[in-house]
Amino acid sequence: MKIRGSLRNNTLLGLGFALMMISLYLMFIYVPTEKGMGIIQRIFYFHVPLAWVAFLAFFVVFITSILYLWKRDTKWDTLAHASAEIGVVFTTLVLITGPIWARPEWGSWWTWDARLTSSLILWLTYIAYLLVRSFAEEEEKGARFAAVIGIVGFINVPIVYLSVNLWRTQHPPELVSDLEGSMLLTLLVSITTFTILYCLLIMRNVSLKSGIAEVKRLRGLLEE
């Protein structure tokens, strides 16, 4: 079991590494520089996959939170917790790469646009999600509370998006269909790579969290 697990892990790791190298080649060498925006446009091939992974991670939190409240199996909570941590890291990266692009393009680091604002709210919600676990007296309680925030926070995202969109919007719309062939290829490869990176990270994080739980259990046994 363990050997097979590590074999699968290593295959995925190898695949991820190879794809990351290919993505970097595509992003920096293969794909032509965009005419209007210049070199800064290349950050797009990082920014969009990062945002996709962040959203995927929070979607996983949403689903596993529901499953946890329903089945009360710790494995769902571990998965939700691991995914939320990764989601926060990726959203942080989205919030960093976005302004780097926006400054030369829009002339300002930040605007209160629908997508920017929703990402920021999403980030704050899931930081609260992680904080609540440490606020709770017992771990089981923290897991339950976090699951509730994971559900409510995710349902809230479309409403935030809709309301800010009505308020003002500046973010470029998804122009995937208008993308030139080589750019579309680069984007798709990059998205695949980052999705594999997410899978790798979540497997590592879950096994780390299970390890921590196991150590806690053993320590409890020792103290008895």
């Binding site: 709210i121 609540v132 309680k141 699951a147 009505l166």
Partner: protein
Amino acid sequence: MINYLGKVMTIFFKDLLSEFRTKAVASSVLLFAILVIIIFNFAFESDSDTIGLVAPGVLWVTFTFAGVLSMNRTFVVEKEKGCLEGLMLCPVSRDVLYWGKMISSLVLMLIIEAVVFPIFLILFDLPLWMPRLAIVALLGTLGFASVGTLFSALAANTKARDMALPIIFFPVVVPVIIAAVKATDLILNSGTWHEMSSWLEILIAFDVIFLVVSALVFEFVIEE
């Protein structure tokens, strides 16, 4: 159905009676809200030109802060005196507790707003008769109470208590604040019903979605 409503109303009247006897929450939150408005008045140095610009924001920031303050109390009070155990021993389902608590938070907030509104309008030198503002206030406050009740039960069960509520409450109520501020802005600057309609729709959608979701997940927050 009538039986269900009767149970909800019993919890509501219990809260109202205890608040009426002690006036602990209403009086302090009321004073707090007036102080916030006065402080904003200094912060913005509002004269007749800028009033239309800042007044909606001032009003809703005041209500948001006052709302957090009063909702923080709803479950902390129960917790301190061991009433929550009593409530949970009641032979009613958990969502009855939610609706009872939600209605009592809502009514308490509306009473506070009914006093703060005229004071705000006088201090900012605005016309006193604005029935449309009452509709926006009702919908916005219902949105606050819907998630506020859920999260205040959650926060009361953590170590952080008073700190936990704003951290989880603010990100989620962003759509309410945006929509309420915009609708209030339109009312103060004599906008039409038609212009307001999309903001009212967002408020109604938020209220309906989060009343249902909160009632569904409430049981996971208060179980021991």
